[in-house]
Symmetry: C2
């Protein structure tokens, strides 16, 4: 999940529809049964095991990306979902290339780093310059050109471990905006401490966003132990010089796809409940928690509802978005579907928060729908899930839908371990706990079931613009 | 610490001297005072911080190796130790080069692996072959040539987490002997699951030992998550093909050194109490726990005894051995000192067990000395250290001294976290806990002090041959 999409939306609690939503007792009973069975018999873990084993890394535009699309289509069909189609998406194709990072003075030794996603490479001969360090992006913003020009900027801010996204939100701006802020002051390159909480000697990548107002410079993240090392050298008071050579670059766009699967509804078939996740991953790991877990959750929900063998009232649409990690190309393509199709969406949910336990049901619903959210939360309480507020941000891929006023439910997960592996080579299947993942999936399943069956109208939130 | 040296020696408890060892009450009092002050005011952590920051990786024959020797000599002098000299050691100079490991069929994706220390490289075009898997080295030994010939052998045995060396001892034979056992059956290359307990996507290197009876083949260790991945692919029942390309090779020998520091004794100056550690490290990390911690411990002991400002009875000799990790060249060179100099050693201790808490005092002493070891253990009890048996193996570097019958004391440490980072890129300063390291050092300090001052003779164990 890229950071600039984490901002909590302005709270607008004004209902645009007077009619509320209700769940008949028989539906509540069925939802409870689905919940119970999915917690004990769920197979979401098998989907993420299959994806990480049979596909592995799948950054936008890569061979893995294409393999993932084929895998998803095949697997959805094998799960009994008949309507599966591909929406073609032109995706950027950035390649990491190689990286060499080392301190050349006063204490020569190698550093472990990874290019930030989207970074340009260095000149062929590399860049060697003195390091100037800043504790935060804000401190860099306040620096003078004299301090920075001709140097390699280092930003040391740590990602704070937190059960919510707050820890990520605080630290990630240095990654997204840091390169252009540094470049605007004349820096030759940017190094950041990884936006990650582990002590492994593994760097955490993630997208940067170059501003059009500053030249592009190469940017990379140091593994936490290497950031420690660099900081100890800087603390010696001596000038520290670093050499950086990267061959990262953008290749021509490739065609990927949003994978779209549907379970058509019955009397309210025109109304679409969307559950999304993203199929792409960064290249360093195998994308188990980001976002194999989300893919597994939404696939399993669809499979279990398909297995009921009867249409539910509304249409369930599963979307596995392309290229979330780099430019959100899949979400953008989806938002360009015909307006009348988009307007048929009545609710959107996105699973892109890893494999930690679900802890809270946040909504973004018109006032008349709040009682429905309360009902769902009450049903989920035995799983340790509380009712949150009405300020759900949605995920990055459904942001364009949120901007149109489409209501959202979010099952917030405990992300306190997420940043240990997020965007790093450590994002692998061993970071997924089977029991926990099946419980999260069960919570999604019950929620989606009730949304598909609810009496009444979801209504709309006021449009908020992108 | 290489594995083939972990074997517990045959217990020979026959005393070769009738006179025992005793510690006068004033010495016990001084030892207690030293212990107390070192736990609260110790600076061992600063030595390992300095070594990892200012030198970093220092495999035998590398520029880091030479920098480490210069660092050690400089630092020992700065700690007030006047007698510091270098014993030149011809060391092997193996270089890792690059590695590319990937599954090519049925599910193409990269694998993270590291060449085993001493491995040859592959042919320039790499090796591509079907993988044949064995759970243990023993299972491979029982395989037929038909099963193995022309294939890449994989051995999956896991290192078991254990507070003693047992977990390492069980698993490491596959690394040391595996390549030649596989080659003897016609294998083209060997892959092993890393001998390490962490789930990081980081491989654990370590020396192999080629037999003269089989052709050399390239050998590498997979990171644990990659071993999991390969095993999941193998479990699919399909043939799994792997491509491996490595440029590892031996370069000509280089001159390194054992760094030897002494605090001359007084009335028993001819008797040498040796405390050793090894200065070299593997190249992937910065050698904080293996063996920066040991280097720090023995340096700190020497510094604190030097700070007493008066000679103690026996001579303390600190030896920082060269090239422990690869061929034990430093230990071998040391064992070739003149016999009369070696015979002056009355006790040897080696610190090469990381930075975990000291938990047990093992001895290898003639019977008449056992009371002395009991006295030392009693003094150390407040630190949570128990008296072990009389079966100390010593460490790899003092093994030649042990073979000569020179008595040993070993402060066994809790190594339950050691294999998380051992020989991997994760062996960095963040794995060292300052308080724990100072306590281990204090235990060494009190033990060494009492050994230097004890009344009586240490005697000799029966010679055991190398």
């Amino acid at each position: 999940m890229p950071a600039h999409l984490l901002a909590v939306p302005l709270l607008v609690l004004v209902s645009l529809t007077a009619r509320g939503l209700e769940s008949p007792p028989t539906d509540l009973e069925e939802a409870r049964r689905l919940l119970e069975r999915a917690t004990t018999e769920g197979t979401a873990y098998d989907h993420v095991a299959s994806l990480t084993t049979e596909v592995g890394p799948r950054p936008a535009g890569s061979a893995g990306d294409k393999a993932a699309v084929a895998w998803a289509e095949r697997r959805l069909r094998s799960l009994g979902i008949k309507e599966v189609r591909l929406q073609p998406v032109q995706v950027p194709h950035w390649v990491r290339g190689t990286i060499e990072t080392r301190v050349t003075s006063p204490f020569p030794q190698p550093l472990v780093a990874a290019a930030l996603g989207g970074s340009i490479g260095t000149p062929e001969e590399g860049v060697e310059a003195e390091v100037v360090a800043f504790p935060t992006l804000e401190a860099l913003r306040e620096a003078s050109r004299d301090q920075v020009e001709g140097r390699i900027v280092y930003i040391g801010q740590r990602a704070r471990r937190d059960a919510t996204w707050a820890g990520y939100g605080e630290a990630v701006a240095k990654r997204v905006a840091g390169p252009s802020v540094a470049s605007g002051l004349g820096a030759r390159a940017l190094l950041i401490r990884s936006v990650g909480t582990s002590r492994s000697r593994l760097p955490h990548t993630g997208t940067l966003s170059y501003s059009v107002n500053a030249p592009k410079i190469p940017a990379a993240a140091l593994a936490n132990p290497d950031a420690d090392l660099l900081e100890r050298m800087l603390a010696s008071g001596q000038a520290v010089t670093v050499f950086l050579k990267m061959t990262s670059r953008d290749l021509p766009y490739e065609t990927s796809a949003n994978v779209i699967a549907e379970l058509p509804g019955s009397d309210l078939a025109e109304e679409i409940v969307l559950i999304g996740a993203h199929l792409d991953s960064w290249d360093l790991g195998t994308g188990a928690i980001d976002d194999g877990a989300g893919v597994a959750i939404v696939m399993e929900v669809a499979a279990r509802l398909a297995a009921l063998g009867r249409p539910l009232r509304r249409t369930l649409r599963v979307v596995l978005f392309a290229s979330e990690e780099y430019t959100l190309a899949g979400a953008t393509a989806y938002s360009r579907l015909p307006a009348d199709e988009l307007d048929r969406h009545v609710l959107a949910m996105e699973a892109d928060a890893g494999a930690g336990a679900a802890v809270r049901l946040q909504s973004l619903l018109p006032e008349a729908g709040l009682g429905f959210a309360d009902t769902v939360a009450e049903l989920l309480r035995p799983l340790g899930i509380e009712r949150g507020g009405n300020a759900a941000g949605g995920g990055p891929d459904i942001r364009p839908l949120v901007a149109r006023g489409i209501p959202v439910l979010t099952l917030e997960q405990d992300v306190s371990a997420y940043l240990d592996a997020h965007h790093s080579p450590d994002d692998n299947l061993d970071k997924v706990d089977r029991v926990t993942l099946e419980r999260v999936t069960a919570a999604y399943l019950a929620t989606v079931y009730l949304a598909l069956q609810a009496e009444g109208e979801f209504g709309r939130m006021p449009e908020r613009g992108p």
